[in-house]
């Protein structure tokens, strides 16, 4: 691997909460144009890893580099502006706002009319909103045209599945360079999950150079989508490779399925 294809490089990350080491010396790389599956039992540190990459937690030690630039000490906002966008395990939508407002806010970092325009030239602001609303609806329709149709519903009234769809739409319109999906298929049934995975693959084809990390419990889901898989257990990386390689790894089988 030469350096230029590396999007995210985490080396030797340690995250300590009091006496607990949630992450204990984890290193991993994500390349451009790649879907990386991140699996591991509950409490193995997957979400903690996401929280460190996006700046919500500060790691105890170790280095996170994005496109060769260190993310250590950067705020969530600065990291987001570099194109690292995530979804959350339990949906973190703005629940009192409508579907469309949630997706529009995903475009917050794009060029937009400022406050002066909003006060003195509301028409220009409205035009800008109109084009963005159309784009937001187009993205929502990828997942479910009904979401686009009912886009003025508040997100707190949505089902769990629809909440996830809105959350992923919101992440997509933010033009991510690295997309972190935290259990995007949780709570979905088999067909919904496979639809979602197809949409994610389609998205990867459309947006060149994007890197995606997917946290997932379901091995079948991972096998269908991830080109490379990393396995965490007790805050350590215990395996890395293609799905086939991982599947035959005894340590992984023990961690995941329990000792036979």
């Amino acid at each position: 691997m030469n350096n230029s294809t590396t999007l995210l490089k985490a080396s030797d990350i340690v995250m300590q909460f009091g006496g607990l080491k949630a992450l204990n010396g984890v290193s991993l790389e994500v390349h451009r144009d790649e879907i990386l599956g991140l699996i591991g039992p509950n409490g193995s540190g997957k979400t903690t890893f996401f929280n460190i990459v996006t700046g919500i937690y500060k790691q105890t030690s170790g280095l996170v580099e994005f496109k060769g630039e260190s993310l250590t000490g950067k705020t969530c906002q600065q990291i987001a502006q570099r194109g690292v966008i995530r979804t959350f395990q339990t949906s973190r939508l703005w629940f009192d706002l409508s579907i469309i407002d949630n997706v529009l806010l995903g475009m917050y970092m794009r060029e937009k009319p400022g406050l002066v325009t909003a006060v003195f030239n509301p028409k220009a602001l409205r035009r800008d909103f109109d084009t963005k609303v159309e784009e937001a609806k187009a993205v929502l329709s990828i997942f479910d045209p009904e979401l686009a149709e009912n886009c003025y519903r508040k997100t707190k009234d949505l089902s769990l599945v629809d909440r996830r769809r809105v959350e992923i739409s919101r992440a997509i319109v933010a033009n991510p360079r690295l997309l972190l999906l935290d259990e995007p298929a949780a709570g979905m049934d088999v067909s919904e999950t496979s639809d979602l995975m197809k949409d994610i693959q389609k998205l990867k084809r459309e947006k060149k150079d994007i890197g995606i990390i997917v946290i997932e419990h379901d091995m079948m889901v991972i096998s269908s989508i991830a080109e490379r898989v990393v396995v965490f257990n007790f805050g350590k990386k215990i395996a890395e490779g293609t799905y086939e390689e991982i599947k035959s790894n005894t340590e992984v089988r023990e961690a995941y399925l329990g000792k036979a």
């Binding site: 987001a80 406050l115 909003a118 609303v133």
Partner: protein, 388 residues
């Protein structure tokens, strides 16, 4: 055809509300005014049950008939003071309502949009009033010089409250604001150059092109008292404040205010700058209060520390919560109600706090989202219109 009936329903409703308001203000006996309140409450209660009528009225300011409703509302609000030409006192109360509406609109940026319950709005009201009072009495500056200076000063001090408050959240932020409110009150109360507890008397009414708003106007045989002209003067400020507040609400800033109210972590992860947006809410909110304070000082002609007590701050918070968080019309309604109704029950002034407490409890029990709650933003105006 359907549209025409909608218009008529809206106009009848508005006229009914205004007629009730006029009767309420004119009522001499206490029982009569309570009776009117009961009638209004009953009417609204039955309206809730008539789903179709309720829908028409509920969307009257946002839906397709908003042009008609806004026009008729403006006509009524302009006509309103002419029913009280002989009663300076009621004109006084109505103008107070307008002034407090401006302060409440500003407070809504913080409480309604951002979810930061700030009890110190009365402080900025007082600071605006004192700035104008001191500048105009000591340095003989005109209203039009005092106003921008008060805007700058309240804006800067709003920043001064906002900066430390950013470190805190929810209850702690409210505590900081209460502390700020008391500190400012005690300072003004105890310093000599602010006039101490005696306040600052002798503030003149503003002049427009050399015409003092204090003077009565005579047209034919009708005398239009000075309070009437000041009512319209304040009304112009309310209109401007409302337009700007609405545009703020519809801007990206308004949207990000709501986002940070709902979920700060998600907001940060989508690049929303919490610091800047919260500070802007403090600055603009304080400026609104400052402008209201300036209008108050020049209207009453006298400012005292009593104008910036915690009680006034509490009253302003109640206005926002009663009217409806993050809905400008709701906030205006809340402010108007909480100024006008207690004035009518002056006889029970000692029970005023009890009354506010009762209102808050009843609201939290039966309608926690406020009288006119937050409405989802609508886009695609053109397509919506075509579909209708």
């Amino acid at each position: 055809m359907k549209k025409a009936t909608n218009y008529i329903v809206i106009i009848i409703f508005q006229v009914f509300i205004f007629a009730a308001l006029i009767l309420f203000l004119k009522a001499e006996s206490l029982f009569f005014s309570i009776g009117i309140l009961v009638v209004i409450a009953a009417a609204l209660f039955f309206l809730r049950r008539e789903k179709r009528l309720y829908e028409v009225l509920n969307t009257s300011f946002t839906g397709s008939s908003r042009r008609i409703s806004v026009t008729s509302f403006i006509i009524l609000i302009v006509l309103l003071p002419f029913f009280f030409l002989k009663s300076g006192y009621i004109l006084h109360v109505l103008t107070f309502a307008l002034i407090y509406i401006i302060a409440a609109l500003g407070l809504n940026f913080q409480i309604g949009s951002c979810g930061m319950v700030n009890f110190a709005q009365s402080t900025f009201f007082g600071i605006g009033a004192y700035t104008s009072a001191l500048l105009s009495t000591r340095f003989d500056l005109s209203f039009w010089v005092c106003l921008p200076l008060a805007i700058i000063i309240t804006g800067v001090l709003g920043l001064a409250l906002g900066w430390p408050s950013l470190k805190t959240k929810s209850f702690y932020l409210s505590l900081v604001s209460i502390a700020f409110c008391y500190i400012a009150f005690l300072l003004v109360h105890n310093m000599r150059w602010t006039g101490g507890p005696d306040g600052v008397p002798g503030i003149l009414k503003p002049k427009i092109f050399g015409f003092s708003l204090a003077r009565a106007i005579r047209i034919g045989g009708i005398v239009l008292p000075g309070n009437l002209t000041y009512y319209f003067f304040a009304l112009a400020f309310v209109a401007l404040a409302l337009i700007i507040a609405r545009r703020f609400h519809n801007s990206w800033m308004g949207l990000s205010w709501n986002a940070l109210r709902e979920d700060e972590i998600a907001s940060k992860c989508y690049g929303i700058n919490l610091t800047v947006n919260k500070l802007l809410a403090f600055i603009f909110g304080s400026i609104y209060a400052g402008v209201a304070g300036v209008l108050y000082a020049h209207f009453v002609g006298f400012v005292s520390p009593e104008n910036m007590t915690f009680h006034v701050g509490l009253l302003m918070v109640s206005m926002v919560i009663l009217g409806g968080m993050d809905n400008n019309f709701g906030v205006m309604l809340g402010a108007a109600l909480l100024v006008i109704i207690p004035e009518k029950f002056r006889a029970f002034q000692d029970y005023r706090l009890l009354f506010y407490g009762l209102i808050m409890i009843l609201m939290l029990l039966f309608r926690p989202q406020g009288l006119i709650p937050f409405k989802v933003r609508k886009y695609e105006w053109k397509r919506v219109k075509e579909n209708e």
